[in-house]
């Protein structure tokens, strides 16, 4: 048996090109699996551990002002484990050497110690000392953006009062893993900060002595969360509660969790597609390699090797290739997963990354690759050993070529001999040709989904920022203001157009389903913020009823015309019934829209606005920003182009890393498959090609027999690539439809072109490699060798 093992190693060396190509296919399939599963696992594990370690609260509630004494009785609500009242204050910051205005929120800490819930993870320094009112802990993203260290000075403006403080520490909080200012999608660490200071100091500065305006609650195991929320709402309503909510409505948690979910979906769909394709290719390619060893199998049988021993020999050969591919795939997968998660770390502020390679994943990756390859191997070995050795050693009988429909056709008559050989070969080996076409087509399909992701993301951002959001600047006010205040902005430098909006926190109810959202009251025909929809069209908002993002309408189970209940979470806290007037197709975020006058009517209040959109002459931009930031009623100013750039950067760094990895892998697979296909076609035809040469055919004519076949198969594979790629893209699209981002299902001609080009390039490269081999063809040797 030893010598047979030696043969395994020697065969591997001899088949190294093909073996490497197969290992590449395996490595690619395994890599996607390990990459996505590990990336997903690392993020969710990191989140889970951080939450547990830092006692992340389960329920949050905001009020205008509630006396501290009412907090303790809230602990008696059944299901409540811990209650942490605190003060939350909006603030402006000033930092020497940084001219742009900085916004932030300051949260209170029990004097000199960690709170019971949402504890800080100190990256540097310490908490403010017990008796000090001039120390703050700052969020690490902000500190990093400005190079702050413990001891640095800051000026805070809280409730109109200037407070001079020093940084005592830099920290992370489970509440702010994803740190964005309200209403924004992407973090801006330079201009937005989270700070923590002693409660006595913050309460004094913000006029909240003996009171709180924010509440965190943790639940007992098995608690009824909804019942707790209802009880809290009842207790806090008279203090201006805007409705308690679970952590799932906290933006940071929601965003991180959805990103993890998205990774989770990708981790199922993409590796499944890749592994299925790899499995198919392995099956086909290993089968063909083994069939090429038919004579060797016959010799081994002639010597008295049993079928099992022969099968084991080839199993070993396959297993070694699979093992090499899998190990490479696991190592590269882990490495890319690490790189991906590292990228996320720029956006998600976690203290440390929990990263692990789970045993089941390794086994799954190895198992899938092994089973796929062995199926192909054993099927071919079984066919070979079933033959009488004498029969296997005889040159195969001339294959049966019939005069099918192809023969009579004008096509066939018009072709030269060598082209006829190609067509007859393909027609004769219909199954084998079909397998090659499907194999190459599937690899082209993989190329298509990789490119699809790239394009869909870009398309989605275009749609959002170029079609929907037409304003240059989005200004939000701290509190509702009379429309005339917004009107004043028209006189600011460089302002070309102003459109005002009113946002009101509401809970939408449809049957048992409900969703918390900001209801946006707009002009009847908003020009600076379009509503892309067939129903709404360009004509603007309907006079009555609300318009929802189609995804939100689906979540609530509503269709246009259905009744809908709006519970206002501020002011008189009315609950009114209206109808869903229409839906808009928005790829990013969710929204609820209504005419501003209708909103006022439903809410039972006079005209008021909470923000404006501006169209700005870019020449005056800087002067405008300075002026806007000086207005006390302005809470935030968002430059839309900047936001777009941030979103693009985020997408490029996360989704596109995925996509780029896939395009690279799909390209490798496409090459590996076409190369193997060409290599095997060469081996199968070597004798025939030598014969043609001896008969006086030129090298070019002989090459055409081989290359023409490769070219035809590749061309036939292109429609398969288009069909399978479209299918894969649809699957991926379904899997990635989540609350923040819904990739549009747009397959453009460019994508088809990309997939086709990929296949053609892979085939050309393979063809060139085979041509080199063909040049080295030893006619005499090839003819003398027994088949």
């Amino acid at each position: 048996m030893r010598t047979l093992h030696l043969k395994v190693l020697r065969d591997l060396a001899r088949l190294r090109g093909q073996a490497a190509a197969i290992a590449l296919v395996i490595a690619s399939g395994v890599l996607t699996l390990v990459f996505s599963v590990m990336g997903h696992d690392a993020l969710s594990l990191t989140q889970e551990r951080f939450y547990a370690e830092r006692h992340f609260a389960d329920v949050f509630a905001e009020v205008n002002r509630a006396p501290r004494r009412i907090a303790d009785p809230l602990r008696e609500i059944p299901g409540v484990a811990e209650v942490e009242p605190r003060v939350r204050a909006p603030a402006r910051l000033e930092l020497d050497g940084f001219d742009d205005p900085i916004r932030g929120q300051v949260l209170s800490l029990p004097d000199g110690r960690q709170p019971a819930l949402n504890q800080l993870h100190l990256r540097e320094g310490r908490l403010p000392e017990r008796a000090r009112s001039d120390e703050v802990v700052v969020s690490d993203g902000f500190a990093e953006a400005h190079g702050l260290v413990a001891g640095d000075a800051l000026r805070l403006i809280i409730g109109g009062r200037l407070v001079e403080v020093r940084v005592s520490g830099i920290a992370l909080s489970p509440e702010f893993i994803y740190q964005v200012s309200p209403g924004h999608l992407m973090p801006d660490y330079e201009r937005y900060a989270i700070l923590w200071m002693n409660e006595s100091a913050l309460a004094a500065a913000y006029g909240m002595e003996g009171a709180f305006n924010s509440l965190s609650v943790s639940l007992q195991r098995d608690a009824d969360r909804e019942a707790v929320i209802d009880a809290l709402d009842a207790a806090l309503a008279r203090y201006g509660g805007t409705g308690a909510h679970g952590r799932d409505e906290l933006f940071s948690h929601e965003f991180v969790t959805l990103e993890i979910q998205q990774l989770g979906m990708m981790a199922v769909v993409v590796p499944a597609i890749f592994l299925l394709v790899s499995a198919f290719l392995l099956h086909v390619v290993m089968g063909r390699i083994i069939r090429g060893q038919r004579d060797q199998i016959a010799i081994l049988k002639a010597f008295g090797y049993g079928n099992l021993a022969i099968a084991w020999h080839y199993v070993l050969l396959t297993a070694l290739i699979v093992l090499a591919g899998s190990i490479a795939g696991i190592a590269l997968g882990a490495w890319t997963a690490f790189a991906l998660v590292d990228l996320y770390m720029e956006y998600f502020r976690f203290p440390e990354l929990s990263f692990r390679l789970q045993g089941w994943l390794v086994l799954l990756a190895l198992g899938v690759a092994m089973v796929a390859a062995l199926l192909g191997t054993l099927q071919a070995v079984w066919q070979a050993v079933r033959m009488q050795p004498a029969e296997a050693m005889r040159p195969p009988a001339p294959e049966r070529f019939g005069r099918g429909w192809l023969e009579g056709s004008a096509l066939m008559r018009g072709l030269g001999q060598s082209s006829r050989i190609i067509l007859r070969n393909l027609a004769r080996h219909r199954l084998k040709s079909l397998a090659s076409v499907i194999g190459i087509g599937l690899s082209g399909g993989l190329l298509l989904i990789g490119a699809y992701q790239l394009q869909a993301v870009s398309h989605m951002i275009d749609q959002q920022y170029r079609m929907t959001l037409q304003m240059d600047v989005d200004v939000a006010f701290t509190d509702p203001v009379p429309p005339r205040v917004a009107g004043e902005l028209r006189h600011e430098p460089g302002v070309l157009a102003v459109e005002t909006w009113r946002s009101a926190p509401v809970r939408l109810h449809a049957g048992a389903r409900s969703e918390r959202i900001g209801l946006l009251g707009m002009d009847p025909e908003p020009r600076l913020r379009r509503l892309p929809s067939a129903q709404v069209g360009e004509t603007g908002l309907p006079t009555a009823g609300v318009v929802l993002t189609d995804y939100l309408a689906d979540q609530l189970g509503l269709e246009a015309g259905d009744a809908l209940e709006i519970e206002f979470l501020e002011g008189r806290r009315r609950t009114v019934t209206t109808q869903l007037a229409g839906v808009v197709d928005e790829p990013m975020g969710t929204g609820a829209y209504i005419r501003r006058d209708a909103l006022h009517r439903l809410k039972g209040e006079g005209p008021a606005v909470t923000g404006t959109w501006l169209l700005v002459d870019s020449e005056y931009e800087e002067a405008l920003y300075d002026s806007l930031f000086d207005r006390p009623e302005v809470a935030s100013v968002e430059r839309v182009r900047e936001a777009e750039a941030n979103v693009r950067e985020y997408m490029e760094e996360t989704v596109l890393v995925f996509a780029a990895v896939f395009v690279l892998l799909a390209g490798s697979i496409a090459f590996a498959v076409t190369y193997n296909n060409a290599r095997i076609a060469y081996a199968e035809r070597e004798r025939e090609l030598a014969t043609l040469e001896v008969l006086g055919y030129s090298r070019a004519q002989v090459s055409w027999v081989l290359l023409g076949e490769i070219a035809l198969v590749s061309l036939a594979a292109i429609p398969v690539a288009w069909a399978s790629g479209t299918g894969f893209a649809w699957l991926l699209n379904q899997a990635l439809t989540l609350e923040f981002v819904r990739l549009p299902f747009v397959i453009t001609p460019q994508l088809y072109g990309f997939a086709a080009l990929g296949i053609i390039m892979a085939s050309t490269l393979s063809g060139l490699l085979i041509l080199r081999r063909l040049r080295g063809l030893d006619r005499v040797q090839a003819l003398k060798a027994a088949e």
Binding site: K7, G304, N307, A390, E391, A786
Partner: protein
């Protein structure tokens, strides 16, 4: 029905190693049905060197393959000593080939990825009582080329490796299918000398099939095949030394 020349006096005492009677073999090649053997009756004796002569298509290779357990008869009786080969299972045939038969093929059929020594070792690995591969290679005069790969050996050398591979397990029977078919006459004679040497030295029964009538002169008996039948069997009173053969 077949013109069988009676064996020489005293042959009755000889041990019959192969017995075939009424052997037929039909197979399909592509779209044609080929009747390769049409009722062969034959006996091969222990320790003799027989040459089976016949034109292309006479059925000689098919007969050899059936004797060696590489193929099975469509009908008829085939026995190796007391063992029935006609009804044997795949498993039994595998064991039979492993334990009793050595093959030499026209195109050597060496495994390209293994050296001469390893090509022999692949058989000795599974044999019951093999000689060391080195000894087998020395027997065929290749002690100096043991670590060469097939591609580094001449045709004659490759065939001698194939012979070494066949004899290394010390088989009772050596079956050679056109062993000189791919070689020039001088190299061919060198190979035949090796076969004769093995036959004499190890007392191995050797059956050589060829279409080259000259080779018949070195045999104890020459069996002529024609159209799938034994046409005649000629016993040589005196075996010729392969070195004296010319073609």
């Amino acid at each position: 029905m077949n013109a069988i020349v009676a064996p020489a006096a005293g042959s009755g005492r000889r041990e019959v190693i192969f017995h075939a009677s009424g052997v037929t073999r039909v197979y399909r090649m592509g779209e044609v049905t080929i009747q390769a053997l049409r009722g062969v009756d034959l006996e091969v004796y222990a320790g003799e060197l027989v040459v089976m002569l016949g034109a292309s298509g006479s059925g000689k290779s098919t007969l050899l393959n059936i004797m060696g357990g590489l193929d099975t008869a469509t009908a008829g009786e085939v026995r190796y000593r007391d063992q029935d080969l006609a009804q044997a299972s795949e498993r039994v045939l595998t064991t039979f080939r492993r334990d009793h038969v050595g093959f030499v093929f026209q195109f050597y059929n060496l495994i390209a990825s293994l050296t001469a020594r390893e090509n022999v070792a692949i058989v000795t690995d599974i044999a019951r009582d093999p000689m060391p591969p080195e000894e087998a290679l020395a027997l065929v005069g290749l002690e100096d080329r043991m670590d060469h790969f097939p591609s580094q050996l001449s045709g004659g050398e490759q065939q001698r490796v194939a012979i070494a591979r066949a004899i290394a397990k010390q088989p009772a029977v050596l079956l050679c299918d056109e062993p000189t078919g791919a070689l020039d006459s001088q190299t061919g004679i060198r190979v035949l000398e090796v076969l004769a040497h093995i036959n004499e030295r190890l007392n191995t029964t050797v059956a050589i099939i060829t279409h080259n009538a000259v080779i018949g002169e070195m045999a104890d008996r020459v069996i002529h095949l024609r159209d799938g039948r034994v046409d005649s069997i000629v016993e040589n009173p005196q075996r010729a030394d392969p070195a004296t053969l010319r073609w």
